[in-house]
């Protein structure tokens, strides 16, 4: 991957750090927002730090709009010369500066005069709806306000690349909703490439045009929201989007599952070769007895846990096939669902989605 002459970001990030290895290919077009989605410790923040120049690559390269920023042994551009805006997870607003001076900090460093920088900062405060809060110190701002100041501070330098590290993680649910919508608006307005690091699938789906799912330092799945959520390729994503996911080998309509004993699922669509099979918890029906003329996908399960999930109850099933099933509270009461209870579970073939692994 040395095709460097391109607009936007082209990077192959390799960072080795004591037993952990990040190895990630990234391409982000101008105006595009990519979400790096993954569990904690997957290497998302390391990727971000490498892009920002706060960490050096072990191997690979980073090129932004055709300019090489990091390539081992050849070139390393320090963070202050990269024109990469970063919104940090806990914002890192300078505590000794007011909101407006925090925003003016970047423009000042890029050579603008004091008055010009402040005017620019005032404009940004206005754009994030905080014109009256310019004189406040970071300590006197709420979480949502601090987040917006941090965003304004990053954007005020007119960065060629915008990086956001868990931009909404520190906010409470209510503020999160508003701030997410506003963040989305600013991301849409940003003409360069942008990368959002998050472990929250909702943030990723709402903010980004494309998702890159990172697990254990590698990209395990990539695509738009629809394809990633409909066809998860790892347990992590399946859990995030609330699907039961199994890996196996498909032969026609049958999928022989890998690690679920001698278990075969029958799906509606035929497929051959290594495959994933997925179904929603709501597609699982539970019965106290094996019913007559039942669908083919029927197995004996043991209830291992029951908890609320929206209006329904989510039942964790153990047995040959570990699965989650959603039932109504009424059905749960009728079935006397409690840990240890044995039930029969069935899923219709038409509810099982199969796709190549």
């Amino acid at each position: 991957m040395s095709g460097v002459k391109a607009e936007g970001l082209s990077a192959h990030l390799v960072v080795d750090r004591g037993g952990f290895r990040l190895d990630l290919q990234l391409r982000v077009a101008p105006g595009e927002t990519v979400a790096l989605l993954g569990p904690n410790g997957a290497g998302k923040t390391t990727a971000l730090r490498a892009l920002a120049g706060l960490e050096q690559l072990t191997d690979g390269h980073i090129a932004l709009n055709g300019e090489v920023l990091d390539r081992r042994g050849q070139r390393w551009v320090p963070p202050e010369e990269r024109r990469i805006g970063v919104v940090f997870q806990d914002y890192l607003l300078f505590p000794h500066l007011t909101a407006i001076d925090n925003i003016a900090f970047g423009p000042r460093r890029r050579g603008l005069g004091r008055a010009e920088s402040r005017a620019l900062a005032a404009g940004w405060l206005d754009r994030v709806g905080l014109q009256e809060f310019g004189k406040r110190r970071p300590k006197q701002l709420s979480g949502g306000q601090a987040q917006r100041v941090a965003l304004a501070r990053a954007l005020a330098t007119e960065p060629a690349l915008l990086l956001l590290d868990e931009p909404l993680a520190a906010l409470d649910a209510r503020t999160r909703l508003d701030t997410r919508a506003e963040l989305h608006r600013h991301l849409t307005g940003h003409t360069g490439p942008a990368i959002v690091v998050t472990h929250d699938p909702v943030d990723a789906l709402m903010l980004a045009d494309r998702l890159v799912v990172v697990e254990d330092g590698r990209a395990v799945q990539e695509g738009d929201a629809e394809s990633v959520t409909a066809r998860p390729r790892t347990d992590y994503i399946a859990r995030l989007v609330g699907l039961n996911l199994y890996r196996g080998v498909a032969e026609g309509n049958q999928v022989v599952l890998d690690d679920a004993g001698p278990m075969i699922l029958v799906a509606a669509d035929p497929l051959n070769g290594p495959a994933f099979a997925a179904f929603a918890p709501s597609a699982v029906a539970l019965y106290p007895e094996r019913s007559e003329g039942s669908p083919r996908n029927t197995w004996r399960a043991i209830v291992s846990g029951v908890h609320r999930h929206g209006d329904n109850l989510r039942v964790q099933l153990d047995g040959p096939l570990k699965a989650a099933a959603d039932v109504t509270p009424a059905a749960a009461a009728q079935l006397r669902l409690e840990p240890g209870r044995r039930v029969w579970a069935t899923v219709k073939a038409s509810e099982i989605r199969t796709y190549p692994a």
Binding site: A52, G53, E80, R82, I84, L92, F94, R109, R153
Partner: protein, 266 residues
């Protein structure tokens, strides 16, 4: 929990008795000083030329020593806190030696280096006809030698406690290393620098051993307040008490200001 509170209220006699004796030992001398002070003549005695000279010299030299300590101590603290080089821990130990070294020894050492036959002293004398020992400069140097470690230790602690990620944030905003230091690091450790400077100044003000060894005891030139107290004690007890009162007042003010700083620090 009332049971717990009751238990806490009962202090073992084996601890209480020595604590009370110790407190008396610490506080009584200060009270004695206040009791013996010639309050009525205080304004007149303070206006005596010798007294004023010592006071002026002390304030000037202690302040000069603090400025020197800030100038050189902050970079040293930064190196110790952030630098990565071999022998850093040894350097840290060396820097703090003056904290525990008897000041007289410091004075002797300074004399050996800056005296007319010293390594630097002889060069200064032959090259520029400059003599340092037994001058006001010597007082400032002696004070700096004993008090700079206080500043270094305080600033280094503040630098270690400062979140380095703020400096990273500044770098992503286009700030180079020096700008990061002046615009982010320094303002963020300002409480530590201030506390260190106050401690340093107070230590310099009270300096005696190194000063008398390296700078002598010449009125108006090297006779600072502690030296004046020592001299007055042999001839004029009241003058010694008045000078001591001033030093005590300064100490109390310094302590009070530090307490505020420390509780207000982030």
């Amino acid at each position: 929990m009332p049971a717990k509170r009751a238990r806490r209220r009962r202090v073992p006699a084996a601890l209480l008795a020595p604590a009370v004796v110790g407190l008396a030992f610490l506080i009584l001398p200060l009270l004695g000083l206040l009791a013996r002070a010639p309050w009525a003549e205080l304004p007149a005695r303070l206006a005596e030329p010798e007294m004023l000279a010592a006071l002026q010299l002390s304030l000037f030299t202690a302040t000069a020593a603090t400025v020197l300590s800030l100038l050189f101590g902050i970079p040293i603290a930064w190196l110790l806190a952030r630098g990565e080089f071999p022998g850093r821990s040894i350097l840290r130990a060396l820097v703090t030696v003056p904290l525990v070294l008897p000041p007289v020894v410091g004075g002797v050492a300074l004399l050996l280096v800056f005296g007319r036959n010293g390594i630097i002293g002889s060069w200064l004398y032959e090259r520029f006809d400059i003599t340092i020992p037994f001058t006001t400069t010597a007082v400032v140097l002696a004070m700096t030698f004993v008090s700079m470690p206080f500043l270094i230790v305080s600033v280094e602690g503040a630098l270690r406690g400062a979140d380095i990620r703020f400096e990273e944030a500044a770098a992503t905003l286009g700030a180079g290393r020096w700008t990061v230091f002046t615009h982010v690091t320094l303002p963020m450790v300002a409480p530590g620098v201030l506390a260190g400077a106050v401690l340093c100044w107070a230590r310099a003000l009270g300096e005696f051993g190194a000063t008398i060894t390296f700078a002598g005891n010449f009125s108006g030139r090297t006779q600072t307040m502690p030296l004046a107290v020592y001299l007055a004690l042999q001839t004029d007890l009241e003058a010694a008490i008045v000078l001591s009162l001033i030093l005590l007042a300064v100490s109390v003010i310094v302590l009070a200001s530090l307490r505020d700083r420390w509780t207000a620090a982030p």
